[in-house]
């Protein structure tokens, strides 16, 4: 309301000045590539035909958005995201409760749970691929010797399974941090009042943990939506199992079509921005470290 004092103004100017280098670096490494992609997406630009580059307006968007391959990839991505994040939330919560309550060997329990998350995704994906390949893998033998990765639905299920195995520990870790926020006294008081374990979980633990749960969901949803490495190793997108990132890679790197590929990158960027917007504005997810507005 009132005008800022001279000292406060100078302080603010200094603050901006100190931020400037960081802003410049961010603009160079994050801002410029985004702007350049948008520019490329408006051009016909195929490295195979260097003489035929031209400005085509929104033609590339029309091409991509009217392609059944793109919609199939989007659909696959959404299925993988929703299913894997939902399962991870349930499993992660169970794991978090176990880790939170463990009295003996807490360190060992936590460490061993985190092992899948510590393995490089591509390495883990290779071991999954070999496990599911008839002849070399034990899982394929258990499944009756069928090459599951060569059919669409079984392949997608395998990819989802690999995702869940890989990132449930991450979910559990974030949820465990949230569990630490739940006051013991509150739970004890509820128990004295006769609340069952399930009632204590749904009426006290979950509401108190809500910010932590939303942050965990936001992180995992954004991550799962951009799925690439697991898919690349497991199916490489054959039999219609491409995610949006996989299709973009195919067009950009394999097809050398910078125009179409950049269009897809921009669309993924918009989708990711939309997911973040929905979580933050509609569900009220707060970024870690920011004020949770007295939700506790």
């Amino acid at each position: 309301m009132s005008a800022l004092s001279a000292g406060r103004k100078a302080e603010r100017r200094l603050g901006l000045l100190l931020c400037l280098p960081a802003i410049l670096v961010m603009a160079a490494v994050a801002g410029w590539p985004i702007v350049y992609s948008v520019w490329l997406s408006l051009r016909r630009y195929d490295l195979k035909f260097p003489d035929r580059t031209e400005f085509v307006g929104l033609d590339n968007y029309v091409t991509v958005l009217s392609s059944p391959y793109w919609w199939n990839a989007l659909w696959i991505t959404v299925v993988i995201t929703v299913v894997s994040v939902a399962v991870e939330l349930v499993l992660g919560m169970a794991l978090a409760l176990v880790m939170h309550r463990t009295l003996v060997g807490r360190g060992i329990v936590r460490t061993s749970t985190l092992i899948p998350y510590g393995i490089v995704t591509v390495v883990a994906a290779f071991s999954w691929r070999y496990a599911w390949t008839p002849g070399t893998g034990y899982l394929a033998e258990l499944a009756g010797g069928d090459p599951v990765l060569t059919e669409k639905v079984p392949a997608i299920l395998t990819v989802i399974l690999a995702e869940i195995w890989k990132t449930t520990p991450f979910m559990a870790l974030l949820l465990m941090a949230g569990l630490a926020l739940v006051p013991e006294d509150l739970l004890k008081a509820a128990a004295v009042d006769g609340a069952s374990a399930w009632q204590r979980f749904t009426r006290i633990i979950v509401p108190v943990m809500k910010p932590a749960i939303l942050v965990a969901l936001l992180f995992r949803t954004l991550d799962a939506f951009r799925i690439f490495d697991n898919l690349f190793v497991l199916t490489a997108g054959s039999q219609g199992t491409s995610s949006v990132s996989m299709v973009t890679y195919n067009n950009l790197i394999k097809g050398l079509n910078l125009g179409i590929g950049s269009t897809m990158s921009v669309l993924i960027f918009l989708a990711v921005a939309l997911i973040a917007f929905v979580f933050i504005k509609l569900f009220g997810t707060s970024a870690p470290g920011s004020d949770s507005e007295g939700r506790r």
């Binding site: 195979k48 035909f49 060569t150 299709v247 394999k254 097809g255 079509n257």
Partner: protein
């Protein structure tokens, strides 16, 4: 401190030399020029390089291995070429990449004495795969054509057409004997090769001569019918839709099949199982209705990067790497068919290459894959649309292929 100061000029000198060497893309200590060859992992290729290095005049060839899969090789090459990388001099290219790299201006044309040296004595079919727009862009290193492989204990006379082959297999199955036909039906280049052979044999075309218009004519639709008939016949392997070259080979060696359509490398592999090898024979690829089949030609050509800083040395190295002696060595040790006709007559070829006459015959009546800079897109579209082959509906599949190929050729469509 003072000591460090005094040493500085020397240090700077060393840094400058390293920087200069780095910039020039060659790092030999003795100031010799390095020719960097990028090729897929070939078992005895280093020996060929060593021999050429003994003959090399003032330069040294260094062999850098590319990934094992063709897609991975192409990706690494085109990514670095797109960036104008001067560190690559000689590139081993799949025959289908010539048009793409030539059109993009990433490989050099062979002219004058280099051109004559390459064309001299080389078979016309592989040479054609190195040409684009009437110019020569590659030096054929090895070629490849598929043959029909069969078991002589089950089949006394090999079939000449697809119908005959399916009929023979069905009879064998009825008698309770292995009667399956092995071929490549997975969604990848192998399926495109199979389909392309059928199209050429049926006298059809997928793409026109200019490489800009999708045709998919009656012959191409006829080929779809043959593929569909095979994929739904009782003699097709149940795992045809996920079968690659090696899967086919193992199924045949495992005693499931009487016939197999595959590259000549399977002969060398079969020799490790003497019982099986004794009855393992080859015949010309089956045709659609009599006459010779037009088998799809494969193979590798050497090209010189447009960004090389050692053009003369690179062309010189290519000459040696693909000369008759190198090709004979590669044929005998790695089983790849030569591109120089005289090598086939060499007496040393008789034992490792008893099927060399069949290969020569097949080469002379062979057909190529569509020639277009957008071949990668064309191939991806074809293998996606044909997969799985049992679901082909010849007329509708043909129409869909024509539409999507046209988009791919115009670099408009989305690659699946």
């Amino acid at each position: 401190m003072r000591g460090a100061y005094r040493r500085r000029p020397a240090v700077l000198g060393v840094v400058a030399v390293i920087a200069a060497a780095g910039l020039a893309g060659c790092g030999s200590d003795d100031g010799r020029i390095t020719v960097n060859v990028y090729k897929y992992p070939q078992e005895s290729f280093q020996k060929i390089v060593d021999r050429c290095n003994d003959q090399a005049d003032g330069y040294e060839i260094v062999y850098h291995k590319l990934p094992r899969e063709a897609d991975g090789q192409r990706e690494q090459l085109v990514r670095r070429l797109a960036a104008g990388d001067t560190g690559m001099d000689v590139l081993a290219l799949d025959v289908t990449w010539t048009a793409e790299l030539a059109e993009a201006g990433w490989i050099k044309e062979f002219t004058g004495a280099d051109k004559t040296a390459v064309e001299d004595g080389t078979l016309e079919t592989p040479l054609d795969t190195a040409r684009y727009d009437g110019k020569l862009y590659g030096a054929p290193d090895n070629t490849n054509v598929q043959l029909l492989w069969y078991r002589s204990d089950l089949v006394p006379t090999p079939p000449e057409t697809w119908d005959e082959m399916i009929e023979m297999g069905t009879k064998l199955k009825e008698q309770g004997k292995p009667g399956l036909i092995e071929a490549q039906g997975k969604q990848y280049e192998g399926l495109v090769v199979l389909y392309n052979t059928l199209v050429n044999s049926a006298g059809g075309r997928i793409v026109d001569d200019s490489g800009t218009k999708a045709l998919v004519d009656d012959g191409a639709v006829k080929a779809l019918e043959v593929l569909k008939k095979f994929a739904t016949s009782p003699v097709v392997d149940p795992s045809f839709a996920s079968s690659t070259e090696d899967v086919s080979r193992l199924a045949m060696e495992g005693g499931k099949a009487a016939f197999m359509l595959n590259w000549p490398y399977v002969y060398a592999a079969a020799q490790k199982k003497p019982d099986f090898a004794a009855n393992f024979k080859w015949a010309p690829y089956p045709s659609i209705d009599g006459g010779p089949a037009k088998v799809t030609v494969g193979g590798i050509n050497y090209a010189v990067s447009a960004f090389t800083e050692h053009s003369r040395e690179s062309f010189d190295a290519v000459r040696c790497l693909r000369d008759a002696e190198s090709q004979k060595f590669a044929a005998v040790n790695d089983g790849v068919p030569p591109t120089i006709e005289s090598v086939y007559d060499d007496p040393d070829m008789a034992k490792p290459y008893p099927m060399r006459d069949a290969i020569l015959d097949a080469l002379k009546s062979s057909g190529s894959r569509p020639v277009t800079p957008a071949y990668q897109n064309v191939s991806t579209v074809i293998s996606t649309i044909l997969s799985p082959p049992a679901d082909i509906d010849p007329k509708a599949t043909g129409d869909r292929m024509r539409a999507e190929l046209q988009d791919a050729l115009d670099s408009k469509g989305v690659l699946p």
